[in-house]
Amino acid sequence: MPTLEVNNKGAQYDCRPNSRRELFICFTWIALQGFGGAAPVAQRELVEKKRWLSPQGFLEDWTVAQIMPGPNVVNLSLILGDRHFGISGAIAALAGMTILPLLLILVVAVAYNEYAHYDLVERTLKGMGAVAAGLIIGTGFKLLSSLKSNPIGFPASFILIVVTFVAIALFRWPLLWVLLATGIPSFIWASTRLARRERVERT
């Protein structure tokens, strides 16, 4: 079983789940709060409340979860479950993400067929949609602060963020191409910066 990777030397964020049940409950709770995007809730629960992850650790795991195939928050549950309890932990966390929300969604599906034609339902969803968008944007801003300790440095981070945002949000370019176009230069740059830092540390 892999040992817990403590990302933050302050040891403030080195808590860990005590049981598979705790994983199950935590991810059920994350899923049930996750309207239109689970990143905000996952950040709140895993970093600020449970302290299973530091802000940097969250960003790292979220990055991996996003790059791997499969929905990002589902991947995050798999990664965390597997890290602490192996395959059975991954299954417990995934079950938390899906079982209760699935039952709920069936109820909503039945109710929706009854009430979809009401204007009230549409207006409610519109209001919640705007909030959901704001939640995701706000979480993005929150994660900006954990980029401070990133060895690629502020100017490179800034350029990458602007270019990625413009390409995806304004030009609507396909994700895969944007990831390749920004990811490869960024990887090379990070690699040279790390190599330089290692050389400095050796001398």
Partner: protein
């Protein structure tokens, strides 16, 4: 449209979702929605267009991961037989088939990366991708708002999104309060 699923139909259903699983890279399960639509609605005609669209709408409106629309789609395919047990099995088949391959790849990939976390390549990848991931989040939120592109009419929605973003960023207010406030503003017709 009443029919029963035979064994090859079950396999066709499972195979379709198994083969799409690894394509759900990046923004999640909605990237494969067009392919699922082609297959289930146009080719097999197991599902009406309205059933498909409604499945996505509901999954986005309800809490839980968006990929649950695939479970709803499976449920609707099964419900064509007018049998709840068949619908449940079809739902489970679709969901498990779409999750399993990507879950295996994700676990294998992250375990490898964890074992080799001191390699410069792995660290460079994580550090290099971090700002891009952050930008993708902000872009996702932006895209959710993109349909509201007439500022004269929609400025109140944008204001709500902006205030929400600021509150999430700067305070620890419970997210469910914000969602409830958005729902209330919608009900009252203020946005």
């Amino acid at each position: 449209m009443s029919w029963s699923l035979n064994l090859s139909d079950w396999w066709t259903l499972a195979w379709h979702f198994l083969s799409l699983s690894l394509l759900t890279v990046g923004s999640g399960a909605l990237t494969i929605a067009p392919q699922i639509h082609n297959f289930l609605v146009d080719e097999q005609q197991w599902l009406s267009n309205a059933q498909f669209t409604t499945s996505i709408t509901i999954a986005q409106a309800a809490p839980g991961p968006n990929m649950l629309y695939i479970a709803l789609v499976g449920w609707n395919v099964g419900m064509a037989t007018d049998s709840w047990p068949v619908a449940s099995v079809a739902m489970a088949t679709a969901l498990i088939a779409v999750v399993l391959p990507s879950a295996i790849v994700t676990l294998a990939g992250t375990r490898w990366a964890h074992r080799n976390r001191n390699l410069r390549a792995v660290r460079s990848f994580k550090f290099g991708m971090a700002p891009i991931t952050t930008a993708l989040l902000i872009a996702t939120g932006w895209l959710l708002m993109a349909p509201y592109n007439q500022l004269g009419r929609d400025w109140r929605l944008w204001l709500v999104a902006a205030v929400t973003a600021a509150l999430v960023w700067r305070t620890r207010i419970h997210l469910l309060w914000l969602l409830a406030a958005g729902a209330l503003l919608g009900v009252l017709g203020l946005i």
